[in-house]
């Protein structure tokens, strides 16, 4: 059976700085076309991982591929966009000139450059400031410029290291829109972040890294597990109420019924069963652990929260 080539694949990636181990055997796979969230607490090795993927630092041992080429491969980097965590651009250049420089560095053919630059400026909302010096930009504007720079030339893979760290809520919403636009046109997005709500909103799959290794990975459903549902209902006979326990552990609070460990796919079936039994549904409130709760469980003091089922990468 043919296996689709991964956008990113690492095997036992180890990075040591003197006596400090930044990565202790990072193994992960990012499929093409997905938005992949890379989560972890400060010092977990997220930025180090990105630097190894781009060849900005060399692994102590282990290896991997980016777009099918060895880590740091120069030709593969032609197809990669990158927004560094420390986003700084020449303050003495104008925004348009920074983009032109990166067009040249990315070997985008000259006839396409004008269009690429205009499109990038428009995408990140900097068209009006295109001819201003970067040195006059706020941090948020510099981060927007960095995002535009990373997306020049429609890269196959874009690595975004904390892309919303300097942005206000409007800017964050813009970044989510930009990420979704990139995914829709086939770009793989590797989102390195500790803003869990952002990740939860845009990522197809996530990996949680702690102390230099992946401690959990999978889709959000896989990571967060089954949720619960609260339903406000009336007109249902007591026996019919009890029969609903087949969907999961049931708590009957009169107007409200709560069912735990129910999959989201089962909720329509549950509602149909209530209506079929003559009940009237007034409200349905699905709920499950947030990514933040799950993340804190994984990296916090409760080692039992780590789910062995979700550890496969």
């Amino acid at each position: 059976m043919m296996t689709m080539e991964a956008a990113i694949e690492t095997r036992d990636l180890v990075k040591r700085y003197g006596r400090t181990t930044a990565l202790a055997g990072l193994t992960m796979r990012v499929d093409r076309g997905e938005v992949f969230g890379f989560l972890g607490p400060n010092g977990a090795g997220k930025t180090t991982s990105v630097k190894l993927l781009l060849g900005l630092a060399q692994p102590t041992s282990g290896g991997g591929t980016v777009l099918g080429a060895p880590l740091g491969d120069r030709e593969a980097r032609r197809r990669v966009g990158y927004l560094p965590e420390l986003f700084r651009y020449q303050p003495w250049l104008r925004a348009r000139e920074v983009l032109a420089l990166h067009c040249a560095l990315a070997a985008i053919p000259p006839p396409q450059r004008f269009g690429e630059i205009s499109s990038a400026l428009d995408l990140v909302g900097l068209t009006d400031r295109a001819d201003d010096l970067v040195g006059t930009f706020s941090k948020g504007m510099q981060q927007r410029l960095g995002l535009g720079t990373a997306l020049l030339g429609r890269p196959e893979l874009v690595l975004l290291d904390e892309p919303t760290s300097a942005l206000d809520p409007v800017g964050r919403a813009d970044v989510r829109r930009i990420i979704r636009t990139a995914r829709d046109r086939g770009t793989t997005v590797f989102l390195n972040s500790h803003l869990l709500s952002e990740v939860e909103l845009v990522c197809d799959r996530v990996a949680v890294v702690d102390a230099g290794r992946v401690i959990a990975a999978g889709t959000l459903d896989e990571l967060l597990g089954d949720g619960s549902v609260r339903i406000r209902v009336d007109g249902l006979a007591p026996d019919d109420r009890q029969r609903l326990a087949r969907f999961g552990p049931l708590t009957d609070d009169g107007d409200w019924l709560s069912i735990r460990t129910i999959g989201t796919a089962q909720i329509p079936e549950l509602v149909a069963a209530i209506v079929g039994a003559g009940g009237r549904v007034h409200a349905v409130e699905p709920g499950r652990a947030s990514l933040e709760e799950r993340f804190l469980g994984l990296v916090g003091a409760d080692p039992g929260a780590s789910d062995p089922e979700a550890r496969s990468t």
Partner: protein, 290 residues
């Protein structure tokens, strides 16, 4: 080495930076002021000397020595400028984070170093030749005296600047900006100082001082180029008179006198030194983790 096509891009970026940061403009403006003031000074000096009946030979001797002193100051300014232009050229971009986004592109580190070195060399050589020839021209205009090889003198001073910038760029591949610039300026000063001591050693017959001076001129060839600049500024008649009146050994103790021109082999070594240090810079920067 496919990314070598990006060398011109980095050269342009470096030149653009020098212009946009206004360093070059400030230097050019300052040089203009200095040229005008020294030109007026030469004019005053020569007219006063002629009024007092000074012979043409004495006049040539005096003017050439003042010109050499001006060249010394100009060489020092050029070397310091080269050091402070080159010091942040790698380290500054690493420290600010600018390089992370650039080197994530298909831009080789060797290409970046080559582009930076070429761009800075164009600035230093362009400024060195331009300002040096302007100063010599102003002197010729006001005093009537012209050195035998103005281009050779300005070229040697510019070469000295390139030696300093090359060393600074190498240091910048590993050390912070300020440390790179400071170490390079100190190395330049020490190189000149050891050259003077070597001359004194020759005058006094202290072989060890001469040997140390020769080693330093090979290891860091800025002082050797300074001697070439002096020779290019001295009129042959002046060299003949000075050589006839004093022993060669005593003349060697004068830091503003050179009895012979540059050895082509030494100039070739200077070129090889620059190429070798640029190569070392590439190797050093390739090993640096960002």
């Amino acid at each position: 080495m496919t990314s070598l096509r990006l060398v011109p891009t980095i050269v342009r970026l470096t030149l653009f930076e020098a212009l946009r940061r206004r360093t070059l403009w400030a230097l050019i403006a300052l040089t203009g002021v200095v040229v005008i003031l020294t030109g007026l000074g030469f004019e005053y000096l020569v007219s006063q000397a002629r009024d007092r009946g000074t012979s043409e030979l004495q006049l040539q001797l005096g003017v050439s020595q003042v010109l050499i002193l001006c060249a010394f100051m100009f060489g020092f300014i050029l070397a310091t400028t080269a050091a402070f232009l080159a010091a942040p050229a790698i380290a500054g971009d690493v420290e600010s984070g600018v390089l992370q986004a650039m080197l994530a592109r298909p831009l080789g580190r060797g290409t970046f170093v080559l582009g930076r070195w070429l761009g800075l060399s164009i600035v230093v050589v362009g400024y060195g030749l331009g300002a040096g020839l302007l100063e010599i021209g102003a002197m010729k205009l006001t005093s009537g005296y012209g050195p035998p090889d103005p281009l050779g003198a300005a070229g040697a001073l510019a070469g000295q600047g390139v030696i300093v910038l090359t060393l600074t760029l190498f240091l910048s591949s590993r050390l912070p900006s300020i440390a790179s610039g400071a170490v390079a300026v100190v190395a330049f000063g020490l190189g000149w100082g050891v050259g003077v001591l070597g001359g004194v050693g020759a005058a006094l017959g202290v072989d060890s001082l001469e040997t140390v001076s020769s080693i330093v001129r090979v290891a860091f060839p800025s002082d050797g180029l300074w001697r070439s600049a002096i020779f290019a500024l001295e009129p042959p008649a002046v060299i003949a008179v000075l050589s006839a009146n004093r022993s060669t050994a005593v003349l060697q103790a004068n830091p503003f006198f050179a009895g012979k021109g540059p050895d082509p082999l030494y100039l070739a070594w200077c070129a090889a030194w620059v190429a070798g240090v640029v190569g070392l810079t590439i190797v050093s920067f390739r090993r640096r983790e960002l």
